[in-house]
């Protein structure tokens, strides 16, 4: 089932690439087609895809993954400050630092499993957050967040003949500024690469071993198989994904704040993954997109917007609908998000991907007019790897 023809992989990648690169077009009807949000979709998509490598494949639920995101951001901004505004060194540096951090945290946390593992990662990440917010202010600039400053050394830039400008410099890829649309396309390309790597890992013998660990770790160990190195490796890879995402946050917007490491941020990626469908390839991306969409678009709908949206209706109906809908948008966006979490998990065990699978199953069945096996769900959603 896993060793499928590479042709299918290329198909998946081709479709995925097309979908990601055309995002500015097809998100426009949803009011999401502007650089910052699309950047966030891609970046948090990378974060969730990386998280899913750990959680989806091994079942180890890390509740401190945001620590790597934050560390990646700090590392990237420091690279901008000390070395160069070019994004490549920043990204490389961030991934390395995140990997180092992940080795440390993983080495400690992976001594335990289940909820004990979750709490260890949570505790270590919360320690990082609390320190970054207060005591480590010289490194992190605390509450305000680490920013570019005028007197930054940027040794590489100046060595290559750059001059101090009046304003603060922008991040760039050999001259191409990384804000706005170029920033999105850059993140999109990185997302595609990251997704491809995750696809390869899912289908590799390594991925197979990880799944075996998930289904029964004891059995693996009884057969004389040491699972720890594999777990640590995937934990570090997953942490590097988070570091990469963190560095991209800094690339598109050179500021790193401590709240990126808080448990709520760790919880967010857990929610994204489960909401989309843990263990599926595309699910975490959908979850990430949905949560970021709510955070940015739903929160912006105020009563004025509602009134004009319903303006085609008679006044009393307009007022009535505005009155009904208003508590769920704008400042009520949390409420809608919470209700959505519940609805998805109650009606679609296995997340949004399960919903899509059911829909396609239904479509197939109605198309062929046969009952037969159809789309009956077998086993947990986590076992299916198709995109």
């Amino acid at each position: 089932m896993l060793m499928e023809s590479p042709r299918k992989d290329y198909m998946i990648m081709a479709i995925f690439t097309a979908v990601v690169l055309t995002m500015p077009l097809w998100t426009a009807p949803f009011g999401a087609s502007y650089p910052d949000l699309l950047q966030k979709f891609a970046i948090y998509g990378i974060f969730a895809v990386g998280f899913n490598l750990l959680f989806g494949l091994t079942g180890y639920l890390s509740f401190g993954h945001a620590a790597f995101l934050g560390v990646g951001s700090y590392a990237a901004v420091w690279s901008f400050k000390l070395l160069s505004m070019n994004v490549l060194p920043a990204i490389v540096f961030a991934i390395l630092i995140a990997a180092l951090f992940a080795v440390l945290i993983g080495f400690v946390s992976l001594r335990r499993s289940g909820i004990y593992f979750s709490i260890l990662t949570l505790a270590l990440a919360q320690m990082s957050y609390n320190m970054a917010y207060s005591v480590l202010t010289p490194i992190t600039n605390g509450e305000t967040g680490l920013q570019l400053e005028h007197g930054d050394p940027r040794v590489l830039d100046f060595a290559f003949g750059a001059e101090e400008t009046a304003g603060l410099p922008s991040t760039n890829l050999f001259g191409l500024e990384m804000s706005g649309w170029p920033g999105f396309y850059f993140c999109a390309v990185v997302l595609i690469l990251a997704f491809f790597l995750s696809l390869r890992i899912f289908k590799s013998p390594f991925g197979l071993k990880l799944r075996a660990i998930k289904s029964n770790q004891n059995r693996m160990m009884y057969t004389g198989y040491n699972t720890r190195p594999h777990l640590l490796l995937v934990f570090v890879i997953s942490g590097m994904y988070a570091g990469l995402a963190g560095s991209l946050l800094a690339v598109t917007d050179p500021l790193a704040g401590a709240e990126r490491m808080q448990w709520t941020a760790s919880g967010e990626v857990v929610l994204m993954t489960i909401l989309g469908g843990a263990g599926t390839l595309v699910g975490p991306l959908l979850g990430a997109g949905l949560i970021k969409y709510f955070e940015n678009i739903f929160s912006a709908i105020n009563e004025g917007v509602l009134h004009s949206a319903f303006s085609f209706l008679p006044d009393f109906l307009n007022d009535f609908l505005t009155f009904i809908v208003a508590p769920f948008v704008g400042e009520g966006w949390h409420l809608t998000l919470g209700a959505l979490f519940m609805a998805v998990v109650i009606f679609l065990p296995g997340g949004i991907m399960e919903g899509i699978r059911r829909l396609t199953g239904l479509a197939k069945r109605t198309a062929s007019h046969r009952g037969g096996k159809g789309s009956a769900r077998t086993g947990g959603p986590a076992h299916s790897a198709e995109g």
């Binding site: 605390g142 603060l168 940015n296 704008g330």
Partner: protein, 448 residues
């Protein structure tokens, strides 16, 4: 779409340095928007309306404060568009606004949720700038968020009018050309409180600080310490407490036997409500130390916090930017409009946001253009009156407003549910002025 792809000059230099990296660079990609005459981001010249962005905390601990800010913004937009009773448009002097929008364009607005997190605030602000095309954005309820937003403003070339932010850094170390603050700061709190503390508590006091362990807390601790030590007070101890500690008992009990006779709470929001409630519970307000009544001081007060702490605020001194019970024409006009519209008085956060919006609109009207560098110049060193704090100066050197600061105390006998704070003193602005160079920082260029 002129700002789609842009290359910096320095970037281009570097491209030549990296000779191998020959990226295809189509010529239609033009450089920075400002280079071409007076073109600038989100120029509303060709539109009939102009859009402002109001970015306030709608979720999290400051949601009520954010809701109040939003009400003030809506009111300001109404007044600028010539609807309603005009509010401070009737009292502000000098005033170029005519009640027909800004430069004849009707004002529209979009809103966002900062969540009191820098990342979320910047994401919401970017949405306003990139998608909704705002020409100015405003709001917020904490200093970290304000600083994060004003550095974004500088990068994007869109003016940011800060909401509630009290850290010295906002117009000090982290000041920006595109960021403006009407609210007062920790230094001014210290300067205003000094004489009142001297008068009420004398010059022989021993102070104990509990300070929220992040940048704002530190700047306030420093400013208040400078003031009290200049009065001759001794600082017994200054203890940092984690943000959101909830239960502060482990920090309060050491105060009991420290020999201190004044407790200074450098906390804001929920932290302040909790630490004050608990300090009173531990009997600090009724205590006698060194033969004097023990006193508690809350340097930064707000009515919403006073409401949360209930009776515990009675008799406790602090400073605030503005209070609805002020009797000058500007305050009365604003309180009246706000009260009639919403049925309760505005908070200080609402006041500062309302005034900021009017000030921006007025500056555009005076500059005769939306072009940000001209608007910024119109705001810099602008002298005005009639906005509730007496004669006010928007100092050009650091974009900080200088105006009267209020010293208030918790009311022992409130005449209504809103009458929680009593104005003790209106400290004139000369007394809270300082040299902008003491905090350092650099504003940066007009054109970005």
């Amino acid at each position: 779409m002129s700002d789609t792809f842009h290359f910096t000059r320095r970037g281009l230099l570097k491209t030549s340095a990296f000779a191998g990296a020959a990226l295809a660079t189509p010529h239609l990609f033009t450089r920075n928007a400002f280079a071409q005459g007076n073109a600038f981001r989100n120029d509303p010249s060709n539109k009939s309306t102009v859009t402002l962005g109001f970015n306030v905390p709608q979720t999290g601990a400051y949601a009520d404060e954010g809701a109040d800010e939003l009400r003030a913004y809506q009111l300001a937009v109404k007044h600028i568009n010539g609807e309603g009773d005009g509010g401070m448009l009737n009292t502000m002097k000098p005033l170029a606004l005519q009640g027909n929008g800004i430069l004849g364009k009707k004002v529209d607005y979009v809103t966002g949720d900062t969540q009191t997190k820098s990342d979320a605030a910047r994401a919401a602000a970017k949405r306003m700038i990139e998608k909704d095309g705002v020409i100015m954005f405003s709001g917020g309820s904490s200093s970290g968020v304000a600083i994060a937003q004003q550095s974004l403003a500088q990068e994007m070339g869109v003016v940011f009018m800060a909401g509630l932010t009290h850290s010295n850094d906002t117009t000090g170390k982290d000041k920006r050309r595109y960021g403006f603050r009407h609210f007062f700061n920790a230094y001014m709190s210290g300067a205003a409180l000094g004489p009142v503390l001297k008068e009420r508590m004398g010059t022989d006091r021993r102070a104990y600080h509990l300070t929220a362990d992040y940048t704002w807390g530190w700047t306030q601790e420093e400013s208040i310490k400078n003031t009290t030590e200049a009065l001759g007070w001794e600082t017994v101890n200054a203890v940092r407490t984690p943000l959101g500690a909830g239960d502060f008992s482990q920090y309060i009990t050491p105060v009991l036997n420290s020999g201190a006779d004044v407790l200074i709470l450098n906390h804001y929001g929920k932290d302040m409500v909790n630490s004050l409630t608990q300090a009173v519970q531990f009997g600090l307000r009724d205590k006698q130390v060194n033969g004097k009544d023990f006193q508690i001081v809350v340097p930064l007060y707000s009515r919403l916090m006073a409401q949360g702490a209930g009776e515990n605020v009675q008799g406790i001194v602090g400073s605030t930017n503005w209070h609805w019970s002020l009797e000058d024409e500007g305050s009365k006009a604003f309180t009246k409009s706000f009260g009639q519209e919403y049925g309760f008085p505005p908070s200080q956060a609402a006041h500062t946001c309302y005034v900021q919006t009017l000030l921006y609109a007025d500056a555009v009207e005076r500059a005769g253009t939306f072009y940000p560098p001209e608007v910024i110049k119109a705001l810099e060193d602008f002298e005005f009156d009639g906005t509730g704090n007496g004669p006010t100066l928007y100092r050009g050197a650091d974009h900080q407003c200088f105006k009267e600061v209020l010293v208030v105390e918790g009311n022992d006998n409130p005449s209504s549910q809103f009458d929680l704070l009593k104005v003790v003193k209106q400290v004139p602005r000369e007394q809270v002025m300082y040299d902008p160079s003491i905090f350092g920082g650099e504003l940066g260029p007009y054109e970005v």
